[in-house]
């Protein structure tokens, strides 16, 4: 048991996933790309949910802003990918900062309502602003970034564009995870946890609670925007649905399913829910119904999510070795 715990699981899983393109299946690459992007999305939400104790019901808004920003810059204005990608993160963080300013002014209940309301306004803008976002029809034919440089490299040259894009997604999400992990473990991250545990007390110690919450909201929004930018290209199109409340529900359920008590829990939840989605949507179109039932079962049976249940089981095994 202790041996297993010493394995640095995150880099191992990351390296293992890097091999997916050489399995030769388009579907596996597709699935792995989607999981990597949603894992980043869910982990970014957990900076609010698990670390700061803020329940956002509108996290998809920032995912959508990032997706539209990157796609519009690349297609309409011909901006190269690295710049558009960075701009997507900045745009999403800026939106999150403005909305966060209002949301963190109030208590938990108001916060929950406001995040949902602001997300709906982002959705409404995407839906109605035809000339820029393509409105209801969405914004399609988003170009792939220029991956020509990969063709010159050994091993990578022979891969399909989708596989090369997957490797790019892995590199970028990997970098984001490292940064998020550093943020969560930094003194700033500790402050967020202190705020989650007891905001009044944090205030007494001299923390500017609202400012910290607002910054956390902007950081989480920024990373959600980066995930959105990657997803828009992967999906070859951006649609108002990206910012719709059901997307917010999905990412919230990913985080809770995986377990918001740990850094990687939401990533596990993202993988589980994405795999489940592909199983379920093959059978029925009523995916939200399944999501809702999953959430109810989680609330009553496994409040700690997958990772919480696993570590509880491990603790029980450790306490009674013969059991």
């Amino acid at each position: 048991m202790t041996g297993l715990r010493r394995v640095p699981w995150a880099p191992v899983v990351w390296l293992a996933l890097l091999c997916v393109p050489w399995l030769g299946s388009r579907f596996y690459t597709f699935l792995a790309t989607e999981i990597a992007i949603f894992a980043l999305f869910a982990v970014s939400l957990n900076l609010l949910l698990g670390y700061t104790g803020l329940v956002s019901f509108g996290h998809a808004a920032y995912f959508g802003v990032g997706a539209y920003a990157c796609a519009i810059l690349m297609k309409t204005h011909g901006v190269p990918f690295p710049l558009a990608f960075a701009a997507a993160g900045v745009a999403a963080a800026a939106f999150a900062l403005v909305f966060g300013f209002f949301c963190v002014r109030s208590t938990k209940i108001y916060f929950a309502m406001l995040t949902l309301a602001f997300a709906q306004i982002v959705w409404a803008i995407c839906f109605k602003w035809n000339s820029v976002t393509g409105g209801e029809q969405g914004f399609s034919n988003v170009p792939y970034p220029d991956l020509g440089w990969m063709s010159g490299l050994p091993l990578l040259g022979a891969l399909r564009t989708a596989d090369q894009y997957f490797l790019l997604v892995m590199a970028l999400t990997g970098a984001c995870f490292v940064v998020l992990r550093r943020i969560a473990g930094s003194p700033f991250g500790r402050m967020l946890t202190a705020i989650r545990e007891n905001p009044e007390r944090a205030e007494f110690v001299g923390l500017n609670v609202r400012l910290y919450q607002m910054v956390a909201f902007a950081i989480a929004g920024g990373f959600a925007g980066l995930a959105g930018a990657l997803f828009g290209i992967f999906n070859r199109g951006v649609f108002p649905d990206f910012a719709y409340w059901s997307k917010s529900a999905e990412v919230l359920i990913m985080a809770i399913l995986g377990g918001m008590g740990s850094f990687w829990g939401p990533a596990v939840g993202a993988a589980a829910l994405t795999l489940l989605n592909h199983q379920i949507t093959a059978v029925t179109q009523y995916w939200p119904l399944v999501l809702g039932v999953v959430l109810v079962v989680l609330l009553f049976a496994f409040p700690g999510g997958i990772v919480g249940a696993l570590s509880a089981a491990r603790a029980r095994l450790g306490a009674r070795p013969h059991a």
């Binding site: 209940i109 108001y110 609330l299």
Partner: protein
């Protein structure tokens, strides 16, 4: 452009929208005031009210007063569903973190939304106006449908009725006591469990009634649940969550800003409402008539 008839017409249509919104938001606010549960599924109850009203009308066929019967039937059906949800699910989460209650009602939004899709499909459904209220009259040059006028009258009647119930009856006293200090009320021997169920049913009834009454003027579509819950949230944020008259005031302001916002931002008047909400949040974070939440 700014003729008096136009202004009167806009004001009245804003008032009609406000009264629909008030009926729904009052339920949300009352439930929150007593149970301290923010019910995301309140919009879903509204949507179910609309679908049930349509369904009951189909069953009844051509009967005098079928609209009123179906509206009351739908509201009662939604109230029973609400009571069952409170008893079987929500009850077990009291005393845990707020997050769990929020998430449960959120899960219900997902479940009820798809349930409606399974039962009634995704096509728009429409209901005719009730017999006797089909025509319209003219007021200062503006055309006012009788049905809209009826809603404008009904809103304050419901508000007054609720207020009388809250301030003049024994049940109302219990409700106010529960909103003030529920532990103390329970310690005094009141059956708070039953009070919670009744309150949740009453809130659901109002949501269902709002949904049923809105059917003659708006089509019944999937997605109306989220649209109304966002609007109801804005209303209670403006008016103050848990404050009954605050909800009334918030609804009226919402309706007027929406109706006249099109003068400033054609097609985007909902943004005017958001701007107003932002101003209220800066000036009075607890809402116009709300008390800060502990």
């Amino acid at each position: 452009m700014l003729e008096p008839s136009f202004l009167v017409g806009q004001a009245l249509s804003g008032l009609t929208a406000a009264m629909f919104l008030f009926i729904v938001a009052a339920g949300l606010s009352l439930v929150f005031g007593v149970l301290r549960v923010l019910n995301f599924a309140h919009g879903s109850f509204y949507m179910l009210g609309a679908y049930l009203a349509w369904q009951v009308t189909q069953w009844l066929g051509v009967v005098t007063g079928s609209f009123w019967l179906s509206a009351l039937g739908a509201a009662a059906g939604v109230a029973i569903l609400g009571g069952a949800i409170e008893r079987c699910l929500l009850r077990h989460l009291y005393g845990k973190e707020d997050l769990y209650q929020l998430l449960l009602t959120y899960a219900l939004v997902l479940i009820l939304g798809d349930a409606a899709r399974i039962l009634w499909g995704t096509q728009q459904l429409a209901m005719p106006r009730p017999a006797g209220l089909t025509g319209s009259f003219e007021l200062a040059g503006a055309v006012v449908p009788y049905y809209n006028f009826f809603i404008i009258v009904l809103g304050p009647l419901i508000a007054g009725g609720c207020w009388l119930l809250l301030s003049r009856t024994g049940v109302g006293r219990m409700i106010r006591a529960a909103a003030y200090d529920r532990e103390m009320l329970a310690a005094l021997g009141a059956d708070t469990g039953r009070l919670y169920t009744l309150m949740f049913m009453a809130g659901s009834f109002l949501a269902g009634l709002g949904g049923a009454l809105v059917t003659p003027v708006r089509s019944i579509v999937p997605g109306m649940d989220v649209e109304i819950i966002v609007e109801a949230f804005i209303v209670v944020v403006i008016g103050g969550l848990g404050s009954f008259w605050g909800t009334f005031l918030g609804a009226i302001i919402f309706g007027q800003v929406l109706a006249f916002g099109i003068l400033i931002l054609p097609g985007f008047s909902i943004f005017a409402v958001f701007a107003l909400m932002a101003i209220v949040l800066i000036a009075r974070p607890a809402g116009l008539l709300g008390r800060p939440l502990a």
